[in-house]
Amino acid sequence: MFWLQQIFNGITQGSIYALMAIGYSIILGIIGLVTFVHGEVIMIGAFAGFFMVTFLKANFFLAVLAGFAASWLLGIIIERVCYRPFRSGPREIALIATIGLSILLRSLSQVTFGTEQKLMPDLLNSHFIPLGQIRITNIQLLIIFTVFILALLLHQFFYKTKTGIALRAVSMNKQAAALLGVHVNRTILLGNALGCALGGVSGVLLGIYYNSVHPVMGASVAMKAFTATVFGGIGSIPGAALGGILLGIFENLGVAIFSSGYRDIISFSILILILLIRPQGILGRKELER
């Protein structure tokens, strides 16, 4: 029962990671560059959900939508500010722009939203659903369900729609995609906005799951998104989802087996091991070399 409970907790946490990782993976694929502003994207999404809930008394669905929309917009801004001006320059320049924007956004939201942690009200009457001997809350189930639905929709989007296929083409090879008539600039903008919007949704879910939003919440969760992305494999949506869930499970089992102080050491060690044994990640494409 102890182990099952730990694994289930891991899956819930992991499904939020999975959503972050999918978003991060899309950005990484399409921009070809790690981003340091993703934590702030998640935070802004969480705050959008928070304002929706506290001021407009919105429900779960609208809160998620608000997070999606706010971070989508932020994604467009990020693309305009950090990526587009430096498209033809060395990649590192765009990276430093994301560091600068991250500092700017984080401190700006401390100034405007206040420095304190905010309470995210319970949107649903949280209660237990007994499942054998483990305890599951309805919120946990809702989160897993939401992430699952989103992942399915994304999969359909990427493989069935023209835009989705264009996105994949651009993240594989920009020149070739351009030759095939894909509007590369617009697709990059769209991909970055979509990746950010997913980050925003995961921010709202984080806020709901832990009942709190905080201007400085982004930094540590962004690290998790990053780790989960590498776990699963860059540029692979199912991989990122799997990586997120595995990371959640590893973390919880890590605490269960070792001391909780070693939890992040364990996940980072696994990260490095995976990089050494299978750099492309569990389900990643092999040819990606950057």
Binding site: I99, G100, V111, E289
Partner: protein
């Protein structure tokens, strides 16, 4: 070969830097100057790795941390002298880099970066958890003052000269290495690894040398920092610290020696100038970074040529996308 005018400039700068503590008479700005020196070593050593072989290390704080803790532990427990610990901390940091390098240098770009990132966090978390060695979150206080011929070096002025000497030695040796066969091999690896191998450059070995040389100085900087502040804790070696060192390199301009110097100086002074902005301080700092790279995407010193002729390509703003038709595939 340096011309007479260049030599004169070097000579005058050296005099100015040596006279600085007497000229300034202000311990606070002297301390800022010392921090600049420290960050010049850190940023320049990162630049050796990122700017000269094109590897992208984003976990430099990890090596800095190793140097600082090596010095702190050996100085407080075994009373090693500062002068011995300077190279020793560098060597320990470099040993870790060999470990990392042997495992990961064969990985391509972004995977190497991720490994360094993970490594940096592992080091910090290990420091926090291994309390019997590092005192964990308590940090290590009471690191003794360095001694020289029986004198205790206590004042900021002393530390200023130490860091000035270290920075000077570091930059001097870096310049000599870079303008030698080794440096050329590094730059060749950065420019095109396949071509470098075809020229007989043992890329793996030279990347490893590069990592060792770069991280050695991060370790030295860590040792200096430990003795300078006399108290260290894991809080000083977060990923954010690594990112800000990276920011110094990139804002200053990587791939030349003067860039990180200017980057370290400006990113250390800027927050001090904005001190009175209170809450808005970091907002302005973030904006300043963005503005600087907008104005000079190649870095503040991007176009100055010190030892190598190295330019970034001119960046074209708002280049219209080539919207090519489907039929244009074959000539």
């Amino acid at each position: 070969m340096a011309s007479f005018k260049q030599k004169l400039v070097y000579f005058l700068s050296a005099i100015a830097l040596l006279m600085f503590p007497w000229f300034i008479q202000n311990d606070y700005w002297l301390r800022v100057a010392i921090m600049i020196g420290l960050y010049i070593i850190l940023a320049s050593s990162l630049n050796l790795i990122n700017g000269y072989t094109g590897q992208f290390n984003i976990g430099h704080a990890g090596f800095y941390c190793i140097g600082a803790y090596t010095a702190a532990i050996l100085a407080t427990r075994y009373h090693f002298s500062f002068w011995l610990l300077l190279p020793l901390s560098g060597i320990v940091a470099a040993l870790f880099s060999i470990l990392i390098g042997l495992a990961t240098l064969r990985l391509k770009g972004i995977y190497f970066s991720m490994t360094t990132l993970g490594f940096s966090e592992i080091i910090r978390l290990t420091v926090l958890n291994w309390a019997s060695l590092t005192r964990g979150p308590m940090g290590i206080p009471g690191i003794p003052l360095p001694e020289l011929f029986g004198f205790h070096l206590a004042s900021n002025r002393h530390f200023y000269y130490i860091v000035l000497a270290l920075t000077g030695i570091m930059l001097f040796l870096s310049k000599r290495v870079i303008s030698s066969r080794i440096g050329r091999a590094w730059i060749a690896i950065r420019e095109d690894e396949d071509a470098a191998r075809a020229m007989g450059v043992e890329t793996f070995r030279y990347k490893l040398y590069n990592l060792i040389f770069g991280t050695f100085w991060a370790g030295v900087a860590g040792c200096f920092y430990a003795f300078f502040t006399s108290f260290i804790s894991a809080d000083s070696f977060t990923l954010d610290e690594g990112f800000s060192i990276l920011a110094m390199v990139l804002v200053g301009g990587q791939g030349n020696l003067i860039g990180p110097v200017i980057g370290a100086a400006s990113l250390t002074i800027l927050p001090e100038i904005f001190r009175n902005m209170a809450q808005l301080r970091l907002v302005i700092f973030g904006a300043a970074i963005l503005i600087m790279i907008y104005l000079r995407p190649q870095g503040l010193a991007g176009s100055s040529i010190l030892s190598q002729k190295y330019h970034y390509p001119k960046i074209q703003r708002h280049s219209p996308p080539k919207h090519q038709g489907q039929q244009e595939v074959s000539p």
